[in-house]
């Protein structure tokens, strides 16, 4: 950028620091709407009396209009819509003011435009600075749009990894909490599911539930999560036993080769009357809470999936008696940190669950969620899932 010589060195330095500050502000927002507003607010009042930002050059309606005199905003918007934006190129007379339109170009593509107007003239320096600021604005707006697109994609992907709704299981209350790791861009590897499956040979109704955690985050982990969740639904829906489902899933993940990820999974079958058959493959062990507040581990550890091909699994059986609670979590709960301490240290989760005696399934899930969030001041960088099953009294 070279100065046309109209400015003193001092005011030029002032403008350079203004451009630097503006760039910092623009870089600090990743929301497209807020970026639009910020762009207009940066131009007004230092470079122009008013500014209108267009999302799309072909759309005659400005997405954002900002005027030093707020009462003029509506009239200005109306003029811009009815007469169209001022011409591109050097500023020229427009409704008694001087105005021009500057296209917003980012990465070689037009992504919108800004219209600027002044009650007095634009000096050549003003124009040069406006062009400089519009280049930086265009890049910031493009980044914000790309980020918004990626966030929307991550959210859609994350949603697809969770069940659309949970079935009613007679005699069993269900409480679920799911918290993605945020960071808005990353898709976590945690998932849970609960669904009805084929009646058993005795005609009794059966349901399956699962809670799992794929090692890592991002689209690669999410792909394995999707594979595991859908395969589990199909295999279990066909009535394959819990251990056989685990063996098939293990095989399936190993067959993915280098794309495969480690998967820890708790999978169980619920039969009418509260019967549970569980396999806990490398996953934090489920805990069983009795109404008197005693807590015990409800399964024995078996190897996680995606490691070795010669693994076999065995289901453990128990009956959920009236008022008893089965708590299943992912390691986002037990590995929640407070400095050096982790929530799961020294049977920390058992102690929290013991305090939940007498609560409904939903209240247990909410209580655990709250205790996790209270535990560490720092927000967790892992996602977490909590599934609570409680036999009705």
């Amino acid at each position: 950028m070279s100065t046309s010589g109209e400015m003193t060195e001092r005011s030029w330095r002032g403008w350079m620091s203004f451009i630097a500050e503006a760039s910092d502000l623009l870089a600090g927002t990743l929301d497209p709407e807020r970026t639009l507003a910020l762009i207009a607010q940066l131009f007004v009042p230092r470079l122009s009396t008013w500014c209108a930002v267009y999302n799309d050059e072909a759309d005659p309606r400005p997405a954002y209009v900002w005027h030093t005199d707020e009462e003029q905003s509506d009239l200005l918007r109306h003029r811009l819509i009815t007469d169209g934006p001022p011409p591109q190129g050097p500023p020229s007379g427009w409704h008694g003011e001087v105005a021009c339109t500057i296209p917003l170009i980012a990465r070689g593509r037009p992504i919108g435009a800004i219209a600027l107007g002044r009650t007095d003239r634009f000096s050549p320096d003003h124009i040069e600075l406006a062009e400089e600021l519009s280049r930086r604005s265009a890049l910031a707006l493009d980044n914000a749009r790309l980020f918004a697109g990626q966030t929307a994609m991550s959210k859609a992907l994350q949603r697809s990894l969770l069940p659309p709704d949970l079935p009613e299981v007679p005699g069993i209350e269900v409480g679920v909490v799911y918290r993605p790791a945020d960071h808005t861009v990353d898709v976590g590897g945690d998932f849970y599911d609960l669904f009805a499956c084929k009646p058993g040979p005795d005609g009794a109704r059966r349901w399956r539930f699962a809670i799992g955690d794929v090692c890592g985050t991002g689209p690669e982990a999410a792909a394995v999560t999707g594979l595991a969740r859908h395969a589990l639904r199909i295999l279990a829906g066909e009535g394959l036993s819990v251990p056989v489902v685990m063996e098939r899933l293990n095989r399936l993940i190993l067959d993915e080769g280098p794309r495969g990820r480690l998967l820890t999974l708790l999978h169980g079958e619920i039969t009418e009357g509260g019967g549970l058959g569980l396999v806990c493959a490398g996953h934090p062990l489920p805990l069983l809470l009795s109404p008197d507040g005693t807590v015990v581990e409800a399964a024995t550890p078996q190897p996680l999936l995606g490691v070795l091909d010669e693994v076999t699994f065995e289901a453990g059986h128990l009956t959920l008696l009236p008022g008893q609670v089965l708590l299943s979590v992912t390691d986002g709960v037990t590995e929640r940190r407070d400095g050096e301490l982790m929530l799961g240290d020294g049977h920390g989760l058992e102690a929290i669950l013991a305090d939940c005696a007498g609560l409904s399934a939903g209240a247990v899930a909410a209580a655990i969620d709250r205790r996790v969030r209270d535990f560490g001041a720092e927000p967790g960088n892992d996602d977490m899932a909590i599934v609570v099953l409680r036999a009705a009294d």
């Binding site: 890592g216 480690l262 820890t264 490398g282 190897p303 996680l304 490691v307 070795l308 390691d331 982790m342």
Partner: protein, 107 residues
């Protein structure tokens, strides 16, 4: 020499085996250095790699992933990776994930 943040690795070789002494936490940020170290030793043809976790206070799933991959990589080449000294959280996570039966040799 500056130690890598979070995890320090020290390798000694003796009588046909390599002993990797790890100190610190094995997590998403530090597990890559462990992966490079173990892969390097296996590729150099060390018949047995022992990872001493006595001074490791935390190992998350990315750390497990590194240990498992090293274990499988070694097995495919006819060598072995063994973990010793795991205690507390690290022992718990190995037990919970069922990896203790592959990675830890009963003494």
């Amino acid at each position: 020499m500056l130690e890598p943040v979070g995890l320090a690795l020290d390798t000694t070789r003796q009588e046909g085996r390599a002993l990797v002494t790890a100190r610190g936490s094995i997590d998403l940020h530090s597990s890559e250095s462990l992966r490079e170290c173990l892969t390097g030793l296996i590729d150099e043809g060390e018949p047995e790699v022992i990872v001493d976790l006595t001074a490791v206070d935390f190992c998350d799933s990315s750390g497990l992933n590194v240990l498992v991959r090293a274990y499988k990589h070694a097995r495919a080449r006819g060598s072995s990776v063994i973990v010793t000294g795991a205690y507390g959280r690290v022992e718990n996570v190995l037990r919970t994930t069922g990896l203790d039966r592959f990675l830890i040799r009963e003494s």
